[in-house]
């Protein structure tokens, strides 16, 4: 399913929160046999400068030699273009904005929008819609290996959980 990513040793999976980034990261890493570096492993670090270095290391494998890695990080969506110097594959999750907003409401995630939207040089707006605009208009054209991945296309994967069985899922939950 992810043969198109095999040529890349470093893969960033990003996009709006609630767009399937966690699930996509897990199955890409598993299918390709890559190491998975999850955002929450370093984002909550008590040492921000060190977490930046750790993030860097995980992304580019400086400390693990030439190991292949999938980095899951919707949190770096605003500045993912800055990492193009190392030519990772950047996979941007695509999901209908109304479905994302409904999912945000379900888990009561929306309180963070006002803070996060400032990352996108905006004061207001629907965060996933703004992310998609910036991805299309600014980031995708300047990222060397940019890919869109439709959330619904993942339903063909054997680990996909149908919607009616996911209604009680918590953030980052991908299994029953």
């Amino acid at each position: 399913m992810f043969d198109f990513l095999k040529e890349h040793k470093r893969i960033i999976v990003t996009g709006p929160h609630r767009a399937g980034t966690t699930f996509a990261s897990e199955i890409i890493a598993e299918d390709l046999g890559y190491r998975l570096a999850a955002e929450n492993q370093f984002a909550a670090s008590p040492h921000p400068s060190a977490s930046f270095k750790l993030f860097w290391d995980k992304l580019f494998g400086w400390t693990q030699g030439d190991q292949c890695v999938v980095l899951h990080s919707p949190g770096i969506s605003a500045y993912v273009h800055l990492f193009d110097a190392m030519k990772p594959a950047v996979v941007f999750m695509r999901r209908a904005v109304e479905d994302i907003v409904a999912s945000e409401k379900r888990i009561k995630w929306q309180g963070q929008e006002k803070r996060l939207i400032k990352d996108y040089y905006r004061d207001e707006g629907i965060l996933p819609a703004v992310k998609y605009e910036i991805w299309e208009k600014y980031q995708k054209p300047i990222i060397t290996h940019a890919y869109d991945l439709e959330y619904e296309s993942l339903s063909a994967h054997p680990k996909w959980i149908p919607k009616d069985q996911r209604v009680q899922f918590k953030p980052h939950q991908t299994k029953l």
Binding site: H47, A50, K53, W56, F60, Y79, K118, D119, Y121
Partner: protein, 67 residues
């Protein structure tokens, strides 16, 4: 310069967003913009470049994560 300008996505807007994203990533990680720019330059110059000044903290975090 107002934020609405970025919505036009002309060259000036793109440069503005580039600068803004550098500021935001620096803020996110509590680093100076200069540090972020230097790190990006290092990466461009030589991906094997070591950022020795942070190595101690990184090792401490790795140890914490391993526990």
């Amino acid at each position: 310069m107002g934020r609405k300008k970025v919505e036009t996505w002309d060259l000036e807007s793109r440069l503005l967003y580039q600068e803004w994203s550098l500021k935001r990533i620096a803020k996110h990680y509590k680093l100076t913009e200069r540090t972020v720019r230097d790190k990006l330059k290092d990466a461009l110059r030589d991906k094997e470049a070591e950022l020795m000044e942070l190595e101690g903290d990184v090792e401490a975090i790795k140890e914490a994560l391993a526990k």
